[in-house]
Symmetry: C2
């Protein structure tokens, strides 16, 4: 893929891409309803990666916004939120779905899931993540309430909404167009769809 | 140590203990002001561990309370909250402090930290954690607000407050009496102190 190409994250699938320090990536919520689980790893050492639990104390928030820097598990800047055309509702507190999650939700047999998609996306680049960091769930809408409860709600983004991130080191980014079709996080239609990204150079 | 012994988690240090499935542990906030970072690993496979990001969706909350089950990264029950004499303010969203954290906070040279304490505590049992899971920060008071902001506040527990947890599998638990003395999470006196635990059999 060349800089500027519109790359598809196929519905229910994973995809990964390398970015050089300083490059920007535009993540596009093509249909507006899709959650995209997002990871970033230090390209030179996959044991260092974007960490939600390390980022939250540094930005003093549990949802990043334009201008905020995402930190690694070594507390180094890895990505900066440069633009966000959506209402800014994303999630940092929920794990990637996995085979165990769907079993809990009553699914018999295999169900596509973001954890396997992370591995599949990275594998296309010849890489294996050494662990599964808690993802930045772009556009995922998990309201938290004063009584400490949380709920799983549809996205509030619209078709074509995008987020632009800048790489603060050489990174491997991985994405999963979340295949969740039991809970309504990908819209009340329960229909996971494709999303896109574009490396802006 | 025998069941029933009162074990000290020394101020600024780590400690670990093995529990058999069904055993209960009483964690005691001896002085009321101390945050205790808490981890639990499957004793038969340290790659499976208590996971904050996997627990939150299952309990539908970002702070567990009595009756709630903590889940592993394979979404299996690992600990149950059986009793809590404190006001129930704990934290699941902030990473363990580490050498990098104190550098950010302006500390020159080495500072005790919960991440190193995890390794030191486990090492006393001849074990090495394969990664550093996001901890259950017992008694840590991190209010989150509707604008998505969070802050670092003193504990609201009183001397002698305790939490009782039951092991749902054979586990290795690790604790760190958090050495944070720059932010007031361990009380406005900025004085990290010891805490205790007791295996109840």
């Amino acid at each position: 893929m060349a800089a500027g190409d519109l790359i598809e994250i196929p519905a229910r699938r994973g995809k990964a891409v390398r970015l050089k320090k300083g490059q920007r990536i535009k993540m596009i919520n093509t249909h507006g309803t899709q959650v995209v689980d997002t990871w970033a790893f230090n390209a030179d050492d996959l044991h260092e990666f974007m960490s939600m639990e390390h980022t939250r104390p540094h930005i003093g928030k549990f949802i990043p916004a334009v201008g905020d820097i995402m930190y690694t598990n070594k507390r180094r800047p890895i990505l900066t939120f440069v633009e966000d055309s959506s209402p800014g509702i994303h999630d940092t507190i929920i794990a990637a779905c996995d085979r165990y999650r769907y079993k809990f939700l009553g699914v018999e047999g295999y169900h596509d899931n973001c954890t396997d998609n992370l591995f599949a996306g990275m594998k296309e680049l010849g890489l294996t993540p050494p662990e599964v960091p808690s993802p930045l769930n772009m556009w995922m809408n998990i309201p938290v309430k004063p009584d400490h409860s949380l709920s799983f709600e549809p996205t509030v983004s619209k078709p074509g909404d995008y987020v632009v991130l800048r790489a603060e080191m050489d990174v491997v980014m991985a994405f999963s167009a979340c295949p969740q079709d039991i809970l309504p996080i990908n819209g009340v239609g329960l229909k996971p769809v494709e999303a896109h990204f574009q490396v802006l150079g």
